[in-house]
């Protein structure tokens, strides 16, 4: 199971890195979304996959009675999902505003902050 998940994580990473290499903001955004999911799956796999045993302790016991799924990676993933979701929402708005104002989503043409025709500094006093 872990091996399968590891392959899936690898595939997701490949896709997201490929998308990140694109010049277009919208593809980079897609890459960011997939990257978030890849990492979540990675944390999930790193916490060991245990099937169909929810980590619930019966009322009369202090500790689980058998091997149960590890709840901590799920808590970590929940946090990571919330963060990557808010990140993605922000990036979406930012990318959209940048597209509207700069009239391009090609990162090669986004040169407002770093102009191409920047004059060199004066060489003498």
């Amino acid at each position: 199971m872990e091996a399968l998940f590891a392959l899936l994580v690898g595939a997701l990473f490949t896709v997201s890195i490929y998308l990140f290499l694109s010049k277009h903001i919208i593809r980079i955004l897609m890459g960011a979304a997939i990257l978030g999911n890849a990492v979540n799956l990675l944390i999930f796999t790193a916490g060991r996959v245990t099937r169909e045993v929810p980590p619930i302790i019966p009322p009369e016991f202090d500790v689980p009675q058998s091997v149960v799924a590890n709840p901590l990676p799920q808590a970590l993933i929940l946090t990571a999902i919330v963060i990557s979701f808010s990140f993605f929402a922000f990036l979406l708005v930012l990318g959209y505003r940048a597209y509207q104002d700069l009239e391009t989503d090609d990162s090669d043409e986004m040169r407002v902050a770093e102009p191409v025709d920047d004059v060199p500094p004066p060489l003498g006093y």
């Binding site: 796999t45 930012l94 990318g95 940048a98 104002d101 902050a113 500094p121």
Partner: protein, 531 residues
């Protein structure tokens, strides 16, 4: 309504039962305080006049809290509080030693200065967009990152400060800000995701995220687990956050676009959080793996400082020059990390504190200068000395400090680092630091000569007019709050320069705490036998 907490079973095996002291509350106080005040300010966003009146005293209180925390840590050693009364490592621990407390205090001082400066720099629109709430929320993230003792929690605070910094960066939504913001946001997203990947692997290997617990378990796992991969990932992720050489291009692309006070805050705080995280993970958690990576870190350090300062030399825009100077400073800090000795690390800590103060102050000074002649370019600059000699001299002092000339604070960490490099025979690292110092002097000297010292360039029409009625230029009045903020930071860097012993002692203390974290571990697990 009585508050009852009746345990059904014996909870002493899972929960902290002894009462928590006020000193321990001091540990969480900076974070909670910033969050609460930030929330209140966000609710009062429409009352723009009220914002600085609440935020500046709140930042002063933050300084006080961090000062008390540092004093307490210096007297009685590392301090721990575990959230929700769960026993570590089950609960999330906040643990700090003198390193975390020192960084937290310095960052709070810089934020206070920025808050005071922002009163005059940020107009009503910026305040309505939420300048002060974002500053407070960012400080919550920064303080949380410095004070936490849990590596996943560190990730969360990184994200908190990052999201707040996005808000600050695009304050006002100008075209250049959107452009710079997009690059900043995407590259930082990749960096934090790498951090998360590394943390996921770390959890898979260790089954714990508590830093003290990791320190205890690391030696056992060394023979079996791929720790080197893990540590290299951390180096890459935090190196990206700290703007180390091959992965630093987001910084010069974005740091000159926001409002100046925001640039100053970023310059002071954000990259140093990356340095702090590098110190914590590489030195304290995985010292053995750091030794293996030392050569790479040293090469990266030299490349960062040299490429940074050469980049600074090539810029016409003063703000972009300063952005590259931040990078070059990061290289100097990485040199100490590469050396890994107590002396080298104390140099890094000292340099980080110095850099937080000086880089923020430099952006303030450049902002005030731009208010006089209205621009940031070297080719059209000049005339500051005529208009406001005081500001020109203050800036010169800061330039001395950033270049590492006495009597300001830049000198000592460089001395310590050069000596530490020569001690281990790394003459080329020492040479890189010295060459960087010379090139920095050239850079800032040229900025001062062109933008401050020389008379304001006048076009032909005004020249012929001014020759007739040769009236001396009127001295410009600058806002008092901005001058106070700048003067405060200048005072700090001068004080560190002429009376460096307390800070040197403190940084040595921090470095020793990193190299021998037994006190740190004992504070989290009383009774545990450290490695």
């Amino acid at each position: 309504m009585a508050i009852t907490s009746e345990p059904l079973k014996d909870l002493s095996v899972a929960m902290v039962t002894e009462p928590v002291t006020m000193a321990q509350w001091l540990l969480i106080a900076p974070v909670v305080w910033c969050l609460l005040v930030g929330a209140v300010l966000l609710m009062l966003r429409k009352h723009t006049w009220l914002q600085p009146l609440i935020a500046i005293p709140a930042l002063a209180v933050l300084c006080l809290l961090d000062g008390l925390l540092l004093a307490h840590v210096m007297v009685s050693g590392p301090l721990t509080m575990t959230m929700g009364s769960w026993l570590p490592p089950f609960g999330i621990s906040f643990t700090t030693d003198s390193l975390g407390a020192l960084f937290a205090l310095t960052s709070a001082l810089v934020a206070l200065a920025a808050g005071v400066f922002g009163r005059t720099d940020v107009d009503d629109t910026g305040r309505r967009y939420g300048f002060y709430p974002f500053v407070l929320l960012m400080m919550a993230g920064v303080s949380g990152a410095f004070l936490t003792g849990d590596i996943f929690n560190l990730y969360v605070w990184f994200e908190v400060l990052l999201i707040a910094s996005f808000g600050l960066l695009v304050l006002g939504s100008e075209r250049a800000q959107l452009d710079g913001g997009a690059k900043y946001a995407f590259l930082n997203l990749i960096a934090t995701t790498l951090f998360l990947v590394a943390t996921g692997y770390l959890y898979g290997l260790f089954g714990t995220l508590n830093m003290a617990d990791i320190i205890v378990k690391a030696p056992e796992l060394r023979s079996s687990a791929p720790l080197m991969t893990l540590v290299t990932l951390y180096l890459l992720a935090f190196g990206m956050k700290a703007a180390a050489f091959p992965v630093n291009f987001w910084l010069p692309a974005s740091y000159h676009t926001p409002r100046l006070v925001v640039s100053a805050l970023f310059a002071g705080l954000l990259t140093k959080v990356g340095i702090y995280a590098l110190l914590r993970t590489l030195v304290m958690l995985f010292p053995f793996e750091r030794t293996g990576l030392a050569d790479i870190i040293a090469i990266v350090a030299a490349a960062t400082m040299l490429s940074g300062v050469i980049g600074a030399l090539a810029q016409n825009d003063i703000r972009r020059s300063l952005g590259f100077l931040i990078i070059s400073g990061i290289g100097v800090m990485l040199a100490g990390l590469a050396l890994g000795s107590a002396a080298g690390l104390s140099g890094t800590v000292f340099y980080a504190v110095h850099s937080m103060v000086v880089m923020a102050a430099l952006y303030f000074a450049v902002g005030l200068a731009a208010r006089i002649n209205g621009g940031f370019t070297l080719s059209a600059g000049g005339g500051i000395y005529q208009a406001h000699a005081g500001l020109a001299f203050v800036t010169l002092a800061l330039f001395f400090s950033v270049a590492g000339l006495p009597p300001f604070s830049g000198l000592w960490p460089k001395v310590i680092l050069v000596k530490a490099s020569l001690d281990v025979g790394a003459w080329w690292l020492a040479a890189a630091i010295l060459v960087t110092g010379i090139l920095t002097t050239v850079t800032v000297g040229r900025i001062w000569a062109l933008a401050y010292w020389r008379p304001a360039p006048v076009d032909d029409l005004t020249r012929s007019a001014s020759e007739h009625d040769a009236e001396p230029p009127q001295p410009v009045r600058l806002p008092r709050g901005a001058i106070a903020a700048l003067a405060g930071l200048l005072l700090l860097t001068t004080a560190f320069g002429v009376w460096p012993e307390p800070l040197i002692r403190l940084s040595q203390d921090a470095a020793i705490g990193l190299l021998d974290p037994s006190a740190y571990v004992l504070s989290v697990f009383p009774g545990e036998v450290p490695r």
